[in-house]
Symmetry: C2
Subunit: 376 residues, 2 copies
């Protein structure tokens, strides 16, 4: 890996692995869940609280930060870590996925993507070279290749064409990135749900050589079954001695299934976004705190949880503040969800370490089948 980085697999259990990525800014225990700090903040959380949940690394979004406050401004202010008061590792995406989501506001060429800002309509261009430049200005520890991901539904031919463009961009990203000690570059496998395309993409990336490899182009609406069927083979196409990162995933059961299939890193806005809409994730499943059945319930959201929301408040209180649109509702439920995700990751790591992943997964599913709380 890049200078200053090591990846060690300490134990495996089936396809699953546990270990750690050592970086100059601290260790990332794997499998790792990365909270998303889109605009230089994990929404409704102070960074010390994010760390208190057990997060080793955050994800930052190139697209959002390049538009506001701009990568150049963040660089002048000492980089993204200092700007947002988070001194541990940060992974930045390349901007490719979010630019793709702009739909008609973007124009794709071999060179890159021209697009209009969703904030003010201003014109911008993202290329592999510009994406590498922005991520360097941000001071990202783990930089992602600039890639293209076709919107679904897409024909196999469209997916193949897009994947091959992404592979040419991967080479250009690698060339533009150069050698930056203390900073790692990850490639992104594409190829949709087609095994041959995934294999072709994996070969192209490993021929170039990266510090880690992402599985891209999943969690874009294909459904869990299709995603898992790709994850049944795709991680095996990638080097076993490098971290494998599944982008944009997911719900707790997506995460468990991905880890079972050999994934080491994931990110998703779900725990934080859910927290802002009154949704909570627990070992017993998803809980909608807006539901009136909570309004007189003196019990905690999750009796087994040690987060501030569960140790300090009743379901009745959480219901009240969610219904009243009070900011503390977003703060407490985001904290809870991020805490739950990190507890889940620790459980997965511990289970893999002792070769008991199957039992852990069975217990995970049994808990979810039990209903979110006992009747009062």
């Amino acid at each position: 890996m890049a200078t200053g980085f090591t990846f060690t697999v300490a134990a495996t259990d089936g396809a699953a692995r546990t270990g750690a990525i050592k970086t100059p800014r601290g260790e990332i225990r794997t499998p790792a869940f990365m909270p998303v700090g889109t605009a230089a903040t994990v929404k409704a959380m102070l960074p010390e609280s994010v760390r208190a949940t057990g997060a080793d690394i955050l994800l930052g979004n190139t697209y959002h930060l390049m538009l506001r406050p701009t990568a150049e401004r963040i660089a002048a202010l000492g980089g993204l870590h200092r700007f947002m008061n988070w001194d541990r590792p940060i992974l930045t995406d390349s901007g490719g996925f979010q630019v793709m989501s702009l739909g008609p506001l973007r124009k794709l060429t071999e060179e890159g993507v021209r697009f209009s800002s969703h904030l003010d309509g201003s014109k911008h261009m993202l290329t592999p070279e510009r994406s590498m430049e922005i991520q360097a200005l941000l001071g990202s520890d783990i930089v992602m290749c600039f890639d293209e991901c076709p919107a679904l539904p897409a024909t196999e031919a469209e997916v193949a064409k897009s994947m091959r463009l992404s592979m040419r961009w991967a080479q250009r990203s690698r060339d533009a990135f150069g050698d930056r000690p203390g900073h790692a570059l990850f490639g992104i496998m594409q190829g949709g749900v087609t095994r041959d395309l995934r294999q072709e993409s994996a070969k192209a990336l490993t021929d170039i050589g990266f510090d880690g490899y992402a599985v891209g182009g999943l969690a874009v609406g294909e459904g869990q079954e299709a995603m898992f069927s790709v994850l049944d083979y795709a991680p095996g196409f990638l080097p076993a001695d490098k971290p494998r990162y599944l982008m944009g995933v997911g719900k707790p059961d997506d995460i468990v299934g991905a880890v079972e299939r050999g994934i080491d890193m994931m990110d998703c806005v779900l725990p934080s976004r859910s927290g802002r809409t009154g949704q909570a994730w627990t070992p017993r499943g998803q809980v909608n705190l807006r539901n009136a059945r909570h309004k007189d319930d003196p019990r905690p959201l999750d009796e087994s949880c040690t987060c501030p929301a569960c140790t300090g408040y009743s379901r009745a209180y959480l219901h009240h503040v969610v219904k009243s649109d009070e900011i503390i509702g977003s703060m407490l439920l985001t904290w809870h969800n991020l805490h739950y995700y990190q507890v889940l990751m620790q459980g997965l790591r511990d289970a893999i370490a002792v070769g008991r992943l199957a039992g852990f997964v069975a217990s995970f599913h049994a808990g979810r089948a039990s209903g979110d709380i006992d009747p009062l």
Copy 2:
């Protein structure tokens, strides 16, 4: 005072006093500033963070809580302290002031006020007896009399008539409150800006006898000069051995002027509300973080401040998150403002204790005259 309560004046400096109110739930250092937790939350703050700023007591709003989640529900859940996870003293207002603010949605009679909820239009009645009942259900430590405050502009005759109604309601509040060990009842002086009416109101209240006395009907649009001219005499009409509480005040310079005139307690939504709109209060005056001049400024909001916003972030970052409507902007600026207010109160207490209030006040005004930050 009520069983379990004592008020001790430790030192005076001119009309100003410093001391403490001891309550069964902890000591309130005076002069005290009480953050407002309208709907069972100080907006954008966890209660442990409010405590960390130095707050000894919070204010809760009867009007909001009686409508949602209802006082009966909070009582069934163990009271307001437990509900909102704050175990120190809580003062609740009587609902009178907020019902008055409803304007055409309310109807005033000798019996009380009939009004429609701003949430769902449902009909409610507040009387002195019902206000005492609600505040008891909430478990408030310091209960306020139910009073009426005329909307400005009002003639002297209207103010007199309203004040006399409030004094009859004060007697009914006292009678309805009864004897509740561990809970104090405060009367509220009215009378607008008319000295004779203030004196008449003070006499009516002291004849009834309360554990503390509020100066009501100020900070309702009369201006600082008129408010101070009332405070030049009104506190002197009240018993020196009981706490004097100025309701709904105010800006930092209002607070300093009120303390100079013998006020022991104050509350205001200003520091928290300002924090949610990008406004900060510092020893050098008010700062609008939305202003573009901050966008490249690496310096803290206030170099002398030890709050999380000032120790962890630049003005540039605060500008970015305020402009981006990120929740962390409200969280950090509310924390800063509440911290600043408590530092100001500690400064006032310390200055009074050593007989140096005049010097402290001169320095306070000089700081504000110096501009909010040096040019870059």
